[in-house]
């Protein structure tokens, strides 16, 4: 195409291009959030929290829910939420990322919420077709599904209402490393249905058995959304406090979002969605998680750069601020450029998700692949350019390094997301 042609095409295309700028509402939300976190999630506080028995900050999460509506940001207003879009959710995630705040925002307010919304219960009125009867050869069957659909629907809507004010925190029980479909597993279930227990009378309760490892934001969750294998695949709601549910916190790379393993030993579950609806719910949840995590990575990267720049302006060696050394200046400039690009990628992904743009899978894969690398790069430079102090436990740089590296592995690695792009943009492998 000639360069003239290009310019014309660009103009033409630009008219329908999603808005990438921050709206006034997004800026206001971010400002309020920054102010609250500035008070309650200072680096020393966050660091101390990682060394405590309760690595999640429940009080902070309640404050974010109550004061800023963060727990119900994506939940429709009629269900008690803020009725915001993924754009606002991304703006909030950017700010949360810039503090490495130890709250289950991503897991509950984004991933689990997206799953419930996509399951169709409250929004689209119903869970889709009831699960089909499975062949009898299957070792375990879902509990009698007939008639469960309306109950599940009510329950999901009720659940969103409880989540909206932070009263209930929910986690999707899949490993944090899980990449969204299509390249990730079509249905990431490691739990199966067990037969009903002797004495089970409620036909709406099924029994789940299995293990899910390395789950994010499940430690503080009261309820779990558990994908279970079977024909069809189903998504169940499980009470963390129920008999047969146990969890074990893991020594995690990122202790500001400590993972845990979950065991289900004939744990009682209520059906939320099945078949295509269940798959759709999990895929939508993971895609939303990846997109919002990309925004978090942008916020984290920006914070790392800001910290590094201000340290470089203060720290003197050789009778000069180290920020006056050209090699360091160029590295910080390169980082700033990368972050500008990462921000555009994350904004685009959130915009595509918000509007249901068909380019969303491409946008999410690009954003997660690119922002992961930028956040890690920024955190690594933050440690390096702080020199010795950046390598100590007392300095917060490592909180960002660990979160950045963990986030880059979560919800699909950069390599995995690039591989997903291959199929999405017709650049097939050999």
């Amino acid at each position: 195409m000639s360069e003239v042609g290009e310019r014309l095409a660009a103009g033409a295309q630009a008219e329908g291009f999603p808005d990438l700028l921050y709206s006034d509402a997004e800026r206001a939300l971010a400002d309020a959030l920054r102010s609250l976190l500035g008070d309650r999630a200072a680096p020393a506080t966050v660091l101390a929290r990682t060394e405590s028995a309760q690595t999640y900050d429940d009080g902070l999460w309640q404050a974010l829910a109550a004061d800023l509506g963060l727990a119900g940001l994506l939940i429709p207003e009629r269900d008690g939420g803020a009725g915001a879009s993924y754009r606002e959710a991304a703006a909030a995630a950017e700010t949360l990322g810039s503090f490495a705040a130890p709250v289950p925002y991503l897991g509950s307010a984004v991933v689990a919420t997206a799953a419930l919304l996509a399951a169709g219960a409250p929004v689209r009125g119903g869970l889709g077709p009831p699960p089909q009867a499975a062949p009898s050869a299957q070792p375990a069957q879902p509990a009698e599904p007939a008639g469960s659909s309306p109950r599940a629907s009510t329950e999901a809507a009720d659940l969103l209402r409880k989540m909206a004010d932070g009263g209930v925190t929910v986690a999707l029980a899949v490993p944090f490393a899980t990449q969204p479909a299509p390249r990730g597993p079509a249905f990431p279930a490691t739990v199966r249905l067990a037969g009903p227990r002797h004495g089970d009378t409620d036909s709406g309760v099924s029994r789940l058995r299995g293990t899910v490892t390395g789950v994010a934001d499940a430690l503080p969750a009261g309820l779990l959304l558990v994908p279970a294998d079977g024909v069809p695949e189903c998504l169940y709601l499980v009470d963390m406090a129920a008999d047969g549910v146990s969890k074990a916190p893991l020594a995690s790379l990122d202790m500001t979002r400590q993972l845990c393993d979950l065991w289900f030993d004939d744990a009682p579950g209520t059906l939320v969605a099945s078949g295509q609806a269940a798959k759709r719910a999990v895929t939508a949840a993971l895609a939303a998680g990846a997109a919002i995590l990309a925004a978090e990575q942008v916020g984290l990267a920006q914070r790392c750069l800001d910290m590094t720049v201000s340290y470089a302006r203060e720290r003197r060696q050789f009778a000069r601020p180290i920020g006056s050394f050209q090699a360091l200046k160029h590295r910080m400039a390169d980082l700033w450029v990368e972050i500008a690009l990462a921000r555009a990628a994350a904004r685009y992904a959130a915009a595509c998700l918000s509007s249901g743009d068909p380019d969303a899978p491409v946008a999410v894969a690009m954003a997660k692949a690119y922002c992961s690398q930028v956040a890690v790069h920024a955190a690594q430079e933050c440690v390096q350019l702080h020199g010795g102090i950046g390598f100590t436990w007392e300095h917060p740089a490592h909180l960002y390094l660990k979160r950045a590296k963990a986030d880059s592995l979560a919800l699909g690695t950069p390599d995995a997301h690039r591989a997903a792009l291959a199929g999405l943009v017709n650049l097939p492998g050999p």
Partner: protein, 394 residues
């Protein structure tokens, strides 16, 4: 401010009075300029209506619909992109009336006489001397990397009028008549074999004081307006559709020639594709910021990214092409009016892209600018501060 409908009406009224098919192309364009329908965001009387920049598309669409002769967007890029904003900001009323119309119509091509062999990154150290003899300035020196100079009627000239003061303070900005005696243009061949650029030798060339732009000694400030425009242009120009840039031919080759694909090349292609697309999105975000009247500092990033990506992608394309990459298309010394990466061999793209991080401000200088002006990092110890230009070590 004017509304879209008002602009549309003005164009229709203009077209009613000026039959596009009847008038000569130049006359038609002149009349369009005089009617304020050239660049509608320019002031009235200078080709515009003082309207919002966004309404330009409305006017252009009307003219296109009428099959009216338009300007050639490839002609006079420096005139339209750099000379016009500079003259608008710093030129006298008379200069604006004298030059802007010819710039817009493309009747008069402009070039930029800034860089010198000894003053590239350190532009303010330039040595071309302009001495006043009362009525006019006598200019002697050598400029380099002057694209369009062989086509140009006018040059934006930055010259030293006072060697006795600090280097930035002794500069003055002129419009130099490229047809004047003492102005000699020679092609400068670059490593691609082509000569897109020129060297310009100024030997006691005379410039009337009326062609001085801005006050004596304030050339650096005026030049910065020119350079800023250059960067905004680069940023603005880069927003095409997906795969419209350097990644285009690579993605096309990958799709068309499965025999070239290897696993190792695949991941690198996907990484480059992602970066190219992300850079395009960043360009779009920048464009939206400009359109919203909130230009961000991200403009400084655009050229840096453009250069790096062009270089990485074209280098990758060579590895993908393998045997074909060993060939070149044409080493003949040519003088292209405008350089394009497309329609040439991968090896041409690879070589030409090396210049992207040098021309129009090196990537090193851009990083300095970002570090100091955007991030607020301290400047390095300066050894030329407060030293008269004539006393600087060379």
């Amino acid at each position: 401010m004017l509304k879209p409908e008002q602009v549309r009406e003005r164009v229709r009224a203009f077209l009613a009075e000026h039959d596009p098919a009847a008038a000569s192309r130049q006359d038609f364009l002149n009349a369009r300029f005089d009617a304020g329908l050239a660049w509608v965001h320019y002031p009235e009387g200078l080709g515009g209506l003082g309207a919002s920049r966004a309404l330009q598309a409305v006017a252009d669409a009307e003219f296109d619909a009428a099959d009216a002769p338009g300007i050639d967007p490839d002609r006079n890029p420096i005139g339209r992109g750099m000379a016009a904003p500079t003259i608008l900001a710093y030129g006298s009323d008379e200069q604006q009336r004298r030059w802007l119309r010819g710039i817009w119509t493309g009747e008069e091509v402009w070039c930029q006489l800034f860089s010198e062999p000894g003053a590239g990154s350190d532009l303010a150290a330039l040595a071309t001397r302009a001495a006043s003899d009362g009525e006019s300035w006598v200019v002697t020196g050598q400029k380099v990397w002057t694209s369009q100079a062989h086509l140009a009627r006018w040059g934006l000239l930055l010259a030293r009028t006072d060697p006795g003061v600090e280097k930035h303070a002794g500069l003055t900005y002129f419009a130099c008549d490229m047809t004047a005696p003492g102005v000699e243009v020679r092609p400068l061949r670059q490593l691609t074999g082509e000569a897109e650029f020129n060297e310009v030798f100024l030997t006691e060339a005379r410039i009337p004081d009326s062609d001085r732009i801005g006050p004596v000694g304030e050339g650096w400030k005026v030049a910065n307006a020119t350079l800023m425009s250059e960067r905004v242009n680069i940023a603005n120009a880069r927003s095409g559709p997906r795969e419209s840039g350097m990644i285009g031919p690579v993605a096309a080759a990958w799709r068309a020639r499965p025999e070239l694909r290897t696993p190792g090349l695949h991941d690198r292609l996907l990484a480059l594709w992602t970066e190219a697309e992300v850079a395009r999105l960043a360009g779009e975000m920048l464009r939206q910021q400009l359109a919203a009247g909130k230009p961000g500092p991200e403009g400084s990033a655009a050229k840096l990214v453009f250069a790096r990506l062009n270089q990485e992608i074209s280098a990758y394309e060579m590895e993908l092409a393998a045997a074909d990459g060993l060939r070149y298309d044409d080493w003949t010394m040519r003088r292209p009016e405008r350089s394009s990466f497309f329609g040439r061999s991968p090896s041409f793209r690879y070589l030409r892209a090396r210049g992207n991080s040098i021309e129009g401000g090196t990537s090193e200088i851009l990083r300095n600018i970002i570090a100091e002006r955007v991030l607020g990092l301290p400047s390095e110890p300066r050894q030329d501060k407060g030293v008269p230009w004539k006393d600087l070590p060379r």
